[in-house]
Symmetry: C2
Subunit: 319 residues, 2 copies
Amino acid sequence: MIKTRDLGEKELLARIRPFCSDRLGDDCAVMGATSLAQQMVITTDMLIDGVHFSDRTTSPEDTGWRAAAANLSDLAAMGALPWGLVIAVGLPPDTPVSWLEGVYCGFKACLDCYGQGAEIVGGDLVRSPVRTLAVTAFGQVEKSRLIQRDTAQVGDLILITGSHGRSKAGLELLLNPELIAKLNGFSPVSFYQAHQRPIPRFDVLPLIAQGQSVSGMDSSDGLADAMLQISKASKVGAKIYWDAIPIPPGLELLAGEHLWNWILYGGEDFELVLTLAAESAQTLCQALPGSAIIGEIILDDSSDRIEGLADHRTFQHFS
Amino acid sequence: MIKTRDLGEKELLARIRPFCSDRLGDDCAVMGATSLAQQMVITTDMLIDGVHFSDRTTSPEDTGWRAAAANLSDLAAMGALPWGLVIAVGLPPDTPVSWLEGVYCGFKACLDCYGQGAEIVGGDLVRSPVRTLAVTAFGQVEKSRLIQRDTAQVGDLILITGSHGRSKAGLELLLNPELIAKLNGFSPVSFYQAHQRPIPRFDVLPLIAQGQSVSGMDSSDGLADAMLQISKASKVGAKIYWDAIPIPPGLELLAGEHLWNWILYGGEDFELVLTLAAESAQTLCQALPGSAIIGEIILDDSSDRIEGLADHRTFQHFS
């Protein structure tokens, strides 16, 4: 009998795809119009104790914040603003009530940064052998501002809204506090924050001028994965300006030989990876401190979509 | 330290209520207008192996069907038609792929009964120590047809769209097959079906004439709970016509002394419990085979909201 561990996540998703609607997206579904000008988008995430969060690395408040931020980031990556979230929680009966309250407190603290639509509008609370959170977020986007991953054009530049590898660095520091010595006095706070309190990049959206053709997604599964997903979905290739990829201050000290592994595959930095026409990309890059243009979209070379990215390893949920 | 087991579900919900939006409903949230005439409603449920489903009583297909039906029933109870569903799944790595496919197959089989909006539009698939499903369903309802539980009026009659205790009977038969002898040759199939393949009551909605004042909810947590919730939310009491509550054929043989316990507290029959003005209730009752008028809304008597319902026990997730 084939077990889920025998198949990668993508093969498993392919098995269940036939049961799903044509409206299904990869991380977000475009739900249809809520008005002539507006689209609704939806995203959902399940988070499991010991897999996606842990008392070792995240307080209950951090766990709630991260659950909210991960879903809000999926909305931001579609160009959408939040319209409401629901959160279902499964708990063992011996869970401290303070843990549950902490999760909600952190969840709400993240939402409170993003205005009236970012509210908890529903939920469920059940008994489970393992602490489990399931979040669904709804957003709204003007049709002309919807960002999808399958519209990258040859000649577009690739822009990232911030540096990568910070969340992974934070996780490693939390799991192995002795690593702090490697930082030579450089503060680890930005790494902890990147892991425990990631920021969905709604701030980027108003900077993208109306009518621009932009494709993209967030880098929650890693920078390399985002570039690959956009390339595959858009049936194009990408040439990467390797020297232009920003290296966060202190990361090289900490990561050593793992530096590029953390930057490309670390995941959970929740930046946006966008492709835009050259002039638009340069305008956005100038307006957005910390952003960088790291490559360009080229004709598809299916043998090696991302030039120089020899290793296509990505986080596999079922490995 | 207070553990979640030390508090009932209602107390736990009260603890997290301050973190939630005023838009939060009890089982469904009313999300705001999608157009001048339409409201969007949202509901979410988490289902855990060993708590809400089990290989002992439900095939993977049944588990998927029940997950879909429970959420669709919440929409129907608001008067809404489905607009899309997302399903997140957590699985141990040794889960047979056929189990996952079976769940999706059953989920879709249920959705396929309810038209174009009843589609899977998103999801997530993660590793978890315990099989877990989290479903969120979105629906749309004309504002004038929205059904809520807090609008019951003194003088309304209480109508149920079908009989109760059947799902509980099915569960007991599946757990204890030897009970079949009690049925004296009466077929157990309707009980198995009630438990494994419940039917959300969208068929009721077109029978409710436009402009009628109707309150209500579904009976997923039991008939007694539904009557209590409506009474409390509407700040009214209820006089029950105990002799008018339908007893499903064969149930008395099976349940014996537990008959009224199963009918009132069994749960998961997914019927609608509605209150309407007398004439409207009678018209609906005549149009809907299997339905029954089982009581009337009276002035609040807070010491005993439901006359004759001495025992207010309901299913406690955290007991």
